[in-house]
Symmetry: C2
Subunit: 677 residues, 2 copies
């Protein structure tokens, strides 16, 4: 790639680079900027240090000018918003042409990238590029004569709006899974391709099972979309920086030797890590390659002796990161992962890989090289999920800050909403602005869900200028939002009555509240999983024939993913016990399509319960601090203990948050948290 721009500009830049002692020439800077543009915009100017540290003002200005110029060209690569303009039919035709050339009867396009994570960088948005569908879960299967797009219940409407039903039949990902569809539509002898980098072996097994029922087969192939996608963005190059021990609570060398020892005890010589959040946790580093989660996309191998090889583009390492990583962490380019796996195989030592999270490619490569593979969970998953005391203190501090911002927002909303002029986007912008003033704020932790009236009933709603509604009297407003602070990740949902709520709204809100309280006050023995507790949060709704179609709680990281495993509180079977230090959300809801949505979400920390009894019991410590809307509570539906919990939670919010906010907000908070009992 060569840098665009006029020759004098290039010479000027070359001189500035030389003066600043940069290792890059203008072409190198252009390539770097392509990677910067492929990352989310939140990185701002932090990437300048990747060019020269310190960055002289003149150089910084030149870099920003160059970025602005390149950004213009880059727009064409993947237009995020205007899917109506995508040449979808042409893309599908190109893919079919490509399949014909390679004698494939079809090709499977999952939403996942090579890391199987929730957020996918622009270069990995193959499903969106092909179909227009941008939801966080889905899969397309393209055959010569037909094609299907599989999405789950959250995304049925969105898929119908974004994808072209003439090109793709829309199918339900859960009720009619792709494997079953394959079993029904493939013909005997057909060969369907898949990219082994984009599927876990467990998924490949399922899909294979479907194909085999039809007498067809699957074949791992190089991704044809990567060949036909013109101007596909490069891999993102957001700066990778140290995550200081004062936030992490345990040094990276300590983590490495602890986990290495455990690996060795389990008979593994090494573990292959393909989840960037595991690598970020293990090495105490953070990046910005994907939206809202400070991940440095990378791979790693952890050895029994605690040493690590990190496969990452060196250009994105911030100055000083080498020193932070230390000499037990070797850096290699990502394309060296394959040869490194071959080497592990050649050494004859057992290699541990996670069949639930690692790409099928890793297994194929190890098998071809004759490695002894041990299938076991990513060794970072559990230690990362169980926060240490420093991380928990950080989380509490972040939640106080976040609670203050949300409370200031709610006070403002209470004042402004009755005027009837507020709209969804302006409202969420207001909250974001209040959060940004908080210490250690880095980013939102996910795109805010700001849903007025019937938009609140769309579980994964995202307001656009076309879709947004006004907050009108007699409706409910649902706001689900969160932030990334250096010391913790937050996620909170509040449902607020605009004007006077109906009796039905209060009934439904109170049932959701009963579920929230049942979970918040639950005691449960060691070994209990979130799947076991889920029904407690739904019972009050179930008794009325009501329910909600999402999980009750997800794990939350520490300045990492806002959705983090392996723990979960949901209907889905899950064998992972809740362990002390785990952070999970407590977020039951109720949605009346076309009318309103209700969700009450606090984050809770799993803690030992000291209240006597015969067993080792656990309980939840609620860490989210912002008032619940008392106007929505129907006290006659609550038991005495439920009223006691509500009043004491509100009192705690008042005590902690009042000193942190302006006097006007504090005054509002005083009234908003008056007891209902």
């Amino acid at each position: 790639m060569t840098a665009p721009g006029r020759e004098p500009d290039r010479r000027h830049l070359a001189r500035l680079l030389e003066e600043a002692g940069s290792a890059l020439d203008p072409d190198g800077v252009a390539a770097l900027i392509a990677g910067i543009l492929a990352a989310p915009p939140e990185i701002g100017a932090t990437w300048h240090v990747l060019v020269a540290d310190p960055t002289p003002p003149a150089l910084a200005a030149a870099l920003e000018a160059m970025r602005a110029g390149l950004a213009q060209d880059f727009r064409d690569g993947l237009a995020d918003e205007d899917f109506a303009l995508l040449p979808r039919a042409a893309r599908l035709a190109m893919l079919r042409e490509e399949l014909k050339v390679h004698r494939l009867g079809g090709f499977i396009v999952p939403r996942a990238d090579e890391h199987q994570g929730e957020y996918v960088p622009r270069c990995g948005q193959r499903l969106a590029w092909l179909t227009g569908f941008t939801g966080s879960a889905g899969m397309a299967i393209v055959l010569a004569e037909r094609a299907a797009l599989f999405v789950d219940g959250r995304y049925t409407l969105q898929a119908a709006a974004q994808a072209d039903a003439q090109l793709f039949e829309i199918r339900h990902l859960i009720d009619e899974p792709p494997a079953r569809w394959l079993a029904g539509v493939l013909k005997k002898g057909m060969v369907v391709g898949y990219d082994p980098w984009l599927h876990t072996p467990q998924e490949v097994e399922r899909l294979k099972g479907g194909a085999e029922r039809a007498g067809a087969s699957l074949k791992p192939v190089a991704n044809p979309i990567d060949r036909i996608w013109p101007g596909r963005p490069p891999a993102p190059l957001a700066p990778v920086v140290p995550h200081p021990d004062r936030f992490a609570g345990e040094s990276a060398p300590a983590k490495r030797s602890r986990l290495g020892r455990a690996l060795a005890e389990d008979g593994a010589a090494a573990a292959v890590l393909t989840a960037p959040e595991s690598i970020a946790w293990l090495l105490n580093i953070r990046g910005g390659d994907v939206p809202h989660t400070p991940l440095p996309l990378s791979f790693a191998i952890l050895r029994g002796d605690g040493s690590v090889t990190l496969f990452i583009d060196r250009r994105k390492l911030a100055p000083g990161l080498d020193r932070h990583l230390g000499n037990r962490v070797a850096i290699e380019t990502p394309d060296r992962l394959g040869p490194a796996l071959d080497q592990l195989a050649a050494a004859g030592a057992p290699v541990q890989v996670d069949p639930a999270t690692a790409a099928s490619w890793v297994f194929d490569r190890l098998e071809q090289a004759g490695a002894r593979i041990l299938r076991a969970a990513d060794p970072c998953l559990l230690p990362k999920a169980c926060k240490n005391p420093v991380e928990l203190d950080g989380t509490r501090a972040a939640h106080r800050r976040d609670g203050a911002a949300v409370t200031r927002f709610l006070a403002w909303l209470a004042h402004e909403a009755p005027k009837g002029e507020l709209r969804e986007i302006a409202v969420s912008d207001r909250l974001e602005a209040l959060r940004r003033t908080g210490e250690n704020f880095r980013d939102l932790s996910f795109p805010t869900i700001s849903g007025a009236g019937s938009n609140g009933a769309i579980v994964h709603y995202r307001a656009t200028p076309q879709s947004e509604k006004r907050l009108e009297p007699g409706t409910l407003f649902l706001l689900d939002s969160g932030a990334q602070y250096l010391d913790g990740t937050t996620d909170i949902t509040r449902t607020v009555a605009i004007g006077t709520p109906s009796d039905e709204m209060r009934d439904r809100f109170t049932r959701v509240l009963k579920g929230h309280i049942a979970l918040a006050t639950a005691r449960f023995p060691k070994g209990t999983t979130g799947a076991q507790l889920d029904a407690l949060a739904r019972r009050a709704l179930w008794q009325k024939g009501l329910d909600y179609d999402h999980g009750t709680g997800h794990g939350v990281g520490s300045y990492l993913s806002v959705h983090e495993g392996p723990q979960r509180i949901s209907k889905a079977p899950n064998a992972q016990p809740l362990l002390p230090g785990m952070i999970v959300s407590n977020e039951p809801g109720y949605y009346k399509t076309g009318a309103y949505g209700i969700r009450i979400e606090n984050l809770v920390v799993v803690q030992p319960s000291q209240n006597g009894g015969e067993r080792d019991m656990l309980c939840f410590e609620t860490v989210t601090l912002a008032p619940l809307d008392r106007a929505l509570v129907a006290p006659d539906l609550l038991e005495d203990e439920e009223i006691a919990w509500f009043d004491s939670y509100q009192a705690r919010v008042r005590e902690v948050i009042a000193p942190l906010v302006d006097r006007e907000t504090a005054r509002w908070l005083e009234a908003a948290t008056a007891p209902i009992g």
Copy 2:
């Protein structure tokens, strides 16, 4: 095998056989009797028809005489009770010798037999023969220098009492699973044998994983115990009889074609069935090869066209069974299963086998023959679990009869217990005698648990003359029992206060009752699993730091296994939704070691819930009818709705049962079911 006895007796028997038109000669009868003796004694004289139908009285007398004689010799084969006399050290030494000869570093001895069922016939009791341990779950691993016996929490005490700790280290089956133990103790290069008939492929995978971590390997071998077990009993030969349509509710041909069609639609040409309860259900046949469950041990292949090959010893088919099975069911001897699998493979059609329930041997054989194997659940599991209206009516009728017997028993107990002379075995014998008078009674459905005082705290207690206690004032008495009726299988637990219970007992009983009611009154959306509901039954105990170490509910068959899958209500993850027609138990409990045990168990049927709301909801219909001990209820711990449920359940018991019992019992029932509210 030749028949023992004096020559004149043989000649006499030969003449009687000839006169009765029997196909058997005296040697054949002796072999048959060996198989009869290898089955549980409940079959009584029903086997006579296998010799001649009708059986002339003189022949019947001769047959019984011969059985009595052979039974004496047979006793030595496997002594069920006196484990202290077993030559355990010698057996272990013989096994080790055998392993040495075959160059094996060890051998794995599971509790399972070839059918992976709960009850194992005498010939399959290899674990008991080797270790002395007779629990219903467990595994031994024998290495050259050490050996371990793995049992779960229910059996820790029993294993310690039955097995010799000098020979076997006792390990916890769940906390320290065999696979992990193998990983820790095996040496590199070691080869450990296992009998592929006695493990599912899923289990073999787990064990292999453990061995491989140690650099060792597993090898399928012919079972060495079968070579060194002198006088090992033959396979049981209890008569196999038709299960009439008036109880089954659907004819066997209808079931066969329904399931065959579904198989074909799923792309399978045939399914291999190795679970005898599946075969019994599919073909509407019943047997008596194992205790308390009317199973005919056998294998079968179901084809897409609805035809079946049944692999079974022809000698045990009662007269007329051929006609009942019809000409679409071929009979083959069990040793023809292998060649039949080879044939399926040769035909090139996909064969469905259940990796969770079928023996690893089946998969190995199919793979060696080059078959296309489809791994999927046994196709009979779900249809068998979802009872049809005829089966449900039968279950309700059986429960009325059973409830009358239990109520008569409870009235008797209330009268007799205060005298302070009752003992556990006499008490359970009394209940059994009352049940035996009921129409359609065939057998108990499991060994009665009759636990007085501290014996009630032993979850799987079985009273022996050595262990039994008197029912003393101030204690609790726990009785868990059930019966097999032609029209249904029952399972009920009642806990009764002898004299005046303590406040703690009432507190604990009431918490267990709250859990029982929470489940009995639960409404839940379609798709909900038992694992999701389990916490509802435990919550009241959890809040006090208490719990119980068993599942809350198991599936129950229709004149079949009292423990039946795939549904379950328990802490263990389980992806099977509860479906209308499924029968499950509702049996929370509480156990105070050394003091008392509490369990409240009714059977419930999953039913659609018609009470409005937005979702398709399900609920439970309680079918068990016997009064709960009101003396143990602390009404101040109950919510109003809980009291209402209790009183209305008791009233229903009174209304239904009073007309079915003697006047004295009815009078007692009147008082026993007086409202508490």
